[in-house]
C-alpha cells in the first residue's frame, strides 16, 4: 500500500548535472520542487572525467551561467587547473576546460541544493510513474507516492543500467551505485519507447604507482578566465596533468583479447558514442594509427586517484591491467577502480518538443542522457531548460525555446528534437553554423537578458553585465575614432609583430583588424585607453577583428529567422498536404516542427517539400 508523500509543482527524477539545474531553476522560480536521488552522496557526481568544459562544452557552461544556472559557479569553486583551449585558432572556438575536484564539486552541489528554498532533496528510487487527474504520481521503492504537476526525467545512466567488464556483466549504475530498475517499465506502460545507449569510463589509478619522470606535463593557463560571470576571484591552478601514449604493445594486447570485449562479442546491444570511443574501439577503427594519446588527470586535491582520459575500456580487468602496464609511465600502475562500459535506457529525443516536454505527455519532461546526449555540460544545459519550462508551464507562461542562432544550448536542443540521435550526442563547435556569433566570450550578451527576464539572474549580476557591455561598446567606438600617427616607436613595434609599418595616420580599429596585431599590443600607443577588465579587452578585440564575419553570420541568422517566424501548428496533419513526398509526410508527422525553419532541418524533408509547405502555409493563412 502506498502512502501519500506530498504535493509538488515540479518533481525531478535524478540528481545528476541535469537534475540539479532543473531542480534549482524550478525552485528559484518559486516552484515547490522535489528531487529524487538513488544515493545522496552522489548528487552532482562526476562518474567519468574529473573535468568540466572543453570544446563547445565550455560554451555550454558559460551559457548555462548566463541564464542563471549553477554549473559554472560550482566549477569555478572547485577548479584544480584551467585552460582556454584552441587559443590561436580564433575566438569562435576558444573553449574553457577545467580539471575539477570531483568530491568537492559533489559536496558543494549537494549543499547548494540543500540550502535552496522550495527544494527538497530525497534519497529514493522512483519505480512507478503515472498520470491521474491531480497530476503525475511518482511512487518510490518504499511506497511513498508523490504527486506533482510536472515531472522531469533526468535519469542519466542509471535507468536499467548494466555494467560490462569483459565477460562479467551485472545490473548497476555508475561508480558502484545501484541502477534504477522499476521506472523503465512504467515509461513503457505510458507508451514511451526506450532504447539502449552505452558509454564507458577508464580506470582510476594510484598516483604513487605512476612514473611521471618521462611524461609530458600539461600546465594550466597563466591567466585563468572563470566560467561564471558571477565569480569575482578567478581560481588558481594547483595541479598539472600529464600526457602519455599507447604503443605497439598496447595494440597487440588489445588485438589478442578483442574477442573478450563485450562490444565485439555482441553482448552489449547499446549504441556507444562515436565521439568518445573506448581504447579498443580506437585501435580497431583506426588500425593505421601508431599511437593514441592519453591524459593523466588528478581526481581531486585530497585523493591519490588519477583518471586516465582516453583509455576507457570494457575489456576484462586482467586485460586492462596489461593494457595500462604497456604504457610509458604506467608500467607498474595500480588500478584502484577498473574501467567499465555501462548500458542504459534512454529515449529518442524526437519524442520531445523544443521545450523538452514530451509531445504526447503534457507535464512530462526529459533532460540529459535520458534524452540521448552525453556529457555533464549537455545534461546541465537541458536540465536548466527543462526546469525553466516545467516552472513556466505551471505558471501558465510560454515555454523558453532558444534559437540555434542564440546559443549552443538552442543548437543542442534543436539538433536533438529535430534530428533525433542515433548515438550519444556530444556538443561540438562544428555543430553550430553561427560559430562566430556564439562565442564563449559573449554568452552574457546573448543570454543574460533572457536569464534576467525569466528571473534567474539577479539585479546585481545584470547591472554588472550592462556595465561590461557599455564599456565594450564605448571602447570600440573610441578605437574607431582614434587615429594613431606613424612614429618610429609604433613602426618598430609593428615590424616586430611582422606587419606593415605605417606611413600615414590610421584608426586604431583598423590596426586591430590586422591579424598580427592585438588590442593589447597597442596599449603603449594609445594614451587615452581606459582601464578595462581583461575580458572586456578581449571582447573589444574580437568584435573589431571579426566585424565583417560577424556581420555576415548575422545576415544568415536573419535569413533563417524569416523561416523560423513561419509557425506551423502542432496539430497539422501532414499526410493531408498534397505535393509532399511520402517520406516528408511521415517525418513531418513524427517531428511536428514548430516552424518552417525547423522543418527544413529534418532529414528526409527536401527543399521542394519546404516549397510545398510554404505555399500551403500561405494558402492556409489567407483563408
Amino acid at each position: 500500500m502506498n502512502y501519500f508523500a506530498g504535493n509538488f509543482d515540479v518533481a525531478v527524477i535524478g540528481a545528476g548535472h541535469a537534475g540539479i539545474e532543473a531542480a534549482l531553476a524550478a525552485a528559484r522560480l518559486g516552484q515547490k520542487t522535489v528531487m529524487f536521488c538513488i544515493n545522496l552522496d552522489s548528487v552532482g557526481n562526476m562518474p567519468c572525467n574529473p573535468s568540466i568544459g572543453g570544446t563547445a562544452k565550455g560554451h555550454l557552461v558559460r551559457e548555462i551561467d548566463a541564464l542563471g544556472g549553477e554549473m559554472g559557479i560550482a566549477a569555478d569553486k572547485t577548479t584544480l587547473q584551467s585552460r582556454m583551449l584552441n587559443l590561436g585558432k580564433g575566438p569562435a572556438v576558444h573553449s574553457l576546460r577545467a580539471q575539477i575536484d570531483r568530491k568537492a564539486y559533489t559536496a558543494l552541489m549537494k549543499h547548494t541544493v540543500e540550502l535552496q528554498q522550495n527544494l527538497i532533496l530525497k534519497q529514493a528510487e522512483v519505480v512507478d510513474l503515472f498520470k491521474e487527474d491531480d497530476g503525475w504520481h511518482c511512487v518510490t521503492r518504499l511506497s511513498a507516492e508523490y504527486v506533482s504537476k510536472t515531472v522531469i526525467l533526468a535519469t542519466g545512466t542509471f535507468l536499467a543500467g548494466k555494467i560490462f567488464v569483459g565477460e562479467a556483466n551485472y545490473s548497476g549504475g555508475p561508480d558502484g551505485l545501484f541502477a534504477a530498475e522499476g521506472l523503465s517499465s512504467a515509461l513503457r506502460k505510458l507508451g514511451i519507447p526506450l532504447r539502449r545507449f552505452k558509454t564507458g569510463t577508464p580506470a582510476r589509478v594510484l598516483k604513487s604507482s605512476i612514473n611521471f619522470d618521462e611524461l609530458d606535463v600539461q600546465e594550466g593557463d597563466e591567466k585563468i578566465i572563470p566560467f561564471s560571470y558571477r565569480t569575482k576571484t578567478a581560481p588558481e591552478n594547483s595541479v598539472v596533468c600529464h600526457i602519455s601514449y599507447t604503443n605497439d604493445e598496447t595494440k597487440q594486447v588489445i588485438l589478442d583479447n578483442i574477442h573478450r570485449s563485450p562490444l565485439y562479442s555482441g553482448v552489449i546491444e547499446g549504441v556507444g558514442p562515436r565521439y568518445c570511443p573506448s581504447i579498443e574501439d580506437k585501435i580497431m577503427r583506426f588500425a593505421d594509427k601508431k599511437r593514441h594519446q592519453l591524459f593523466i588527470e588528478p581526481c581531486g586535491a585530497d585523493t591519490e586517484e588519477m583518471y586516465l582520459q582516453g583509455m576507457s575500456s570494457s575489456l576484462p580487468e586482467e586485460v586492462q591491467i596489461k593494457i595500462y602496464h604497456s604504457i610509458k609511465g604506467l608500467e607498474n600502475v595500480q588500478i584502484m577502480r577498473n574501467a567499465y562500459a555501462i548500458e542504459y535506457d534512454c529515449v529518442n529525443p524526437h519524442l520531445l518538443n523544443a521545450s523538452l516536454e514530451f509531445k504526447d505527455h503534457s507535464g512530462l519532461y526529459g533532460a540529459g542522457q535520458f534524452n540521448g546526449s552525453s556529457g555533464y555540460e549537455e545534461a546541465a544545459a537541458q536540465g536548466l531548460i527543462a526546469g525553466i519550462n516545467a516552472a513556466r508551464k505551471n505558471m501558465g507562461k510560454e515555454p523558453l525555446v532558444l534559437s540555434r542562432s542564440s546559443s549552443y544550448i538552442g543548437t543542442l536542443i534543436d539538433d536533438l528534437v529535430t534530428k533525433g540521435c542515433l548515438d550519444p550526442y556530444r556538443m561540438m563547435t562544428s555543430r553550430s553554423e553561427y560559430r562566430l556569433l556564439l562565442r564563449q566570450d559573449n554568452a552574457d550578451e546573448r543570454l543574460m537578458p533572457i536569464g534576467f527576464e525569466i528571473g534567474l539572474i539577479d539585479e546585481e549580476t545584470y547591472e554588472s553585465f550592462l556595465l561590461r557591455k557599455k564599456q565594450k561598446e564605448t571602447e570600440i567606438e573610441r578605437l574607431r575614432r582614434t587615429t594613431v600617427a606613424p612614429s618610429q616607436e609604433i613602426n618598430n613595434r609593428l615590424s616586430a609583430l611582422d606587419t606593415t609599418p605605417l606611413t600615414t595616420g590610421i584608426k586604431l580599429a583598423e590596426l586591430i583588424k590586422r591579424p598580427e596585431v592585438s588590442y593589447f599590443d597597442l596599449a603603449d600607443f594609445d594614451p587615452c585607453r581606459p582601464e578595462l577588465p581583461y575580458e572586456v579587452g578581449l571582447k573589444v578585440e574580437t568584435e573589431i577583428k571579426y566585424e565583417g564575419y560577424i556581420a555576415r553570420q548575422q545576415a544568415q541568422v536573419d535569413d533563417m529567422l524569416r523561416l523560423e517566424n513561419k509557425k506551423l501548428k502542432k496539430t497539422t496533419d501532414y499526410s493531408e498536404i498534397d505535393g509532399l513526398r511520402l517520406e516528408a509526410r511521415e517525418k513531418l508527422n513524427s517531428v511536428r516542427p514548430e516552424n518552417i525553419g525547423q522543418a527544413s532541418r529534418i532529414s528526409g524533408v527536401s527543399p521542394s517539400d519546404i516549397s510545398v509547405l510554404l505555399i500551403w502555409l500561405e494558402k492556409e493563412n489567407r483563408q
Binding site: T55, V93, Y245, R291, Y549, R562, S600, P607, S611, E618
Partner: protein, 453 residues
C-alpha cells in the same frame, strides 16, 4: 523585401521586334520617369493606370531607344504593385542598355519568377494560375529543356558535388582541429588546406566557364545567311522560319535591309538574319545593304553561306568565299533540285551540305551541320553547364567565398574565420544544387519561373 522595386527584361531573350522592360514596386513609376522623356513632355507619374506615353529612353543623357511607356497603377497590374512597362525595340543590346539605365536609377534586378511571385503574394493569381504561367514560360526548345534536366541530375550536380566534397573535407578538417584540440591528430597542414581550396576554386572556374555555352542554347545563336544575290537566301530563311518573312522574287537585290527571325532548327535556337546579296553594285540603297551584310559576316556567331549549285562559281562567289572562315560557316549548295554545276569537293575545308530551300531537301543534313559547327552536337545534355543568371550568381558567390578563404589563410587569419568563408561557399553551392533551403516564402517554388511572364 517587398519594398524593393524590381526590374527585368520580360520578353524572351533574342526574340521579336519589340522588347519589354517591366518595372514593379513602390518607386516603379518614379524610376521610369528618370530614364524616360515623353514627346509630349508629360510625366509618367501624371498618368492614370492603363495609359501610355510615347517618347525616348536616355541613359546618362544619351539617347538609347524609342519607347512606349505604359503605366499600371496598384492594385490593377500584373504584380498588384505599381508597374511601368517600357516597350522598346527588341534586340539584346538595346534592351540591356535600357535595363541597365533602369537599374542605375534604383531598381533591383528581379530574381527569377519574382514578378509572378509578387503577383501570387499580392493575391493576383492562385497557385494553379501561377503554375499555368509557368507552363507558358517553360523551356524555349527541347534542347534547353533537356539541358535543364541534366543540370538537375547530371553533370552540373556531379561537378558541384565534387567541389562540395573538397570544401566538406576542409570543413571537417577545421572541425576536427577545433573540436579535438587535445587529440593527437595528424598535423593538419596549411598546404593541405590550400590544396583543397585551390581544387575547389579550379572546379568553380571550370563551372563558371561553361556559362557562355549555356547561354548559346538559352538565347540562341546569332546566325547570318549570306551569299551573292538570288542564290535563294530568302527562300531558305522562309523555309527555316516557316513563314514568309523575307520577300522572295527572282529579282536580284530584293532583300536590301536585314530581315531577322528566331527559328528552331533541330532543337537549337538560331537568331537568323537574312542579308542582302553581296555583290558589286552601283545602286546606292543596295550598297548600304551589302555593307550591312558584310558587317554581319563579322558579328555573327554562325554563318550560313548560300551558293547556287546549279551554276558554276563566279567572281562574286569567290569573293564571298574569301570572306568566310571554316570555323563558323556552313556552306549550303542550294537549288540541288535544279542542277549541279558545283560539288561539295570544291569547298573541302568547309562543312558543306546540298539543299533545296524550295523543296526542303537536305534540311536534315543542314541541321546536323549546324549542330556540329555550333558545337552543340558535342554539347551533350549531360555536360556541366550553368543555366541561368541565378546559378551563375551563386557559383560566383561560392567562388569569391573560396577566394576569400584562401586570402584569409594566406594573411594569417584564424581558422574559425576561414571556416566561415568555407561554410559560406558550401552554403551557396547547396543552394545552387537544391540541397538546402535558404529562402523565404515560395522563393523555391517560384524560382522555377523564368523572369517575367
Amino acid at each position: 523585401m517587398t519594398d524593393k522595386t524590381i526590374a527585368a527584361i520580360s520578353t524572351p531573350a533574342g526574340e521579336g521586334g519589340i522588347g519589354v522592360i517591366r518595372i514593379s514596386g513602390r518607386t516603379a513609376i518614379t524610376i521610369a520617369d528618370r530614364v524616360f522623356k515623353s514627346i509630349s513632355g508629360k510625366k509618367l507619374c501624371e498618368l492614370d493606370g492603363y495609359t501610355a506615353l510615347f517618347g525616348h529612353i536616355y541613359s546618362d543623357d544619351e539617347l538609347v531607344d524609342e519607347c512606349v511607356a505604359t503605366v499600371f497603377l496598384s492594385p490593377k497590374s500584373y504584380t498588384g504593385e505599381d508597374v511601368c512597362e517600357l516597350s522598346c525595340h527588341g534586340g539584346g543590346l538595346v534592351l540591356s542598355s535600357v535595363l541597365r539605365a533602369v537599374l542605375q536609377e534604383g531598381a533591383s534586378l528581379a530574381e527569377a519568377g519574382e514578378f509572378t511571385k509578387r503577383a501570387f503574394l499580392n493575391g493576383k493569381m492562385d497557385l494553379a494560375e501561377a503554375e499555368s504561367v509557368m507552363g507558358l514560360i517553360s523551356a524555349k526548345s527541347r534542347e534547353e529543356l533537356r539541358l535543364q534536366l541534366s543540370a538537375k541530375s547530371g553533370r552540373v550536380s556531379k561537378q558541384i558535388s565534387e567541389i562540395e566534397g573538397f570544401l566538406l573535407e576542409l570543413s571537417a578538417n577545421f572541425a576536427a582541429f577545433s573540436d579535438y584540440p587535445d587529440e593527437d591528430l595528424p598535423e593538419l597542414s596549411e598546404d593541405n588546406f590550400k590544396r583543397l581550396l585551390s581544387l575547389a576554386k579550379n572546379g568553380l572556374d571550370a563551372l563558371l566557364s561553361t556559362y557562355d555555352s549555356g547561354k548559346v542554347l538559352r538565347e540562341g545563336i546569332k546566325t547570318a545567311i549570306v551569299g551573292k544575290p538570288n542564290v535563294g537566301k530568302s527562300t531558305l530563311m522562309n523555309m527555316l522560319s516557316g513563314e514568309n518573312r523575307s520577300i522572295v522574287t527572282d529579282i536580284a537585290g530584293t532583300t536590301r535591309d536585314i530581315v531577322e527571325n528566331t527559328v528552331n532548327l533541330g532543337g537549337i535556337t538560331l537568331l537568323l538574319a537574312d542579308t542582302a546579296g553581296i555583290r558589286q553594285t552601283d545602286d546606292k540603297v543596295e550598297t548600304v545593304g551589302v555593307e550591312l551584310a558584310k558587317e554581319r559576316l563579322h558579328t555573327a556567331q554562325l554563318i550560313l553561306a548560300v551558293f547556287d549549285t546549279s551554276l558554276p562559281l563566279d567572281k562574286d562567289d569567290e569573293e564571298i568565299l574569301s570572306l568566310l572562315s571554316a570555323d563558323n560557316t556552313v556552306i549550303l549548295l542550294n537549288k540541288s533540285d535544279v542542277g549541279q554545276a558545283t560539288s561539295v569537293d570544291q569547298f573541302k575545308s568547309f562543312k558543306t551540305v546540298m539543299v533545296s530551300a524550295k523543296t526542303g531537301d537536305g534540311i536534315g543534313e543542314l541541321e546536323k551541320a549546324v549542330k556540329e559547327i555550333s558545337g552543340t552536337a558535342n554539347l551533350d545534355p549531360s555536360a556541366a553547364v550553368l543555366l541561368n543568371e541565378r546559378q551563375l550568381e551563386l557559383a560566383k558567390k561560392a567562388h569569391s567565398a573560396v577566394a576569400e578563404a584562401e586570402q584569409l589563410l594566406t594573411s594569417g587569419f584564424t581558422i574559425d574565420a576561414v571556416g566561415v568563408a568555407v561554410d559560406d561557399a558550401l552554403s551557396h553551392l547547396y543552394t545552387l544544387d537544391g540541397k538546402r533551403v535558404t529562402n523565404e516564402v515560395a522563393d523555391e517554388v517560384f524560382r522555377r519561373f523564368c523572369v517575367g511572364k
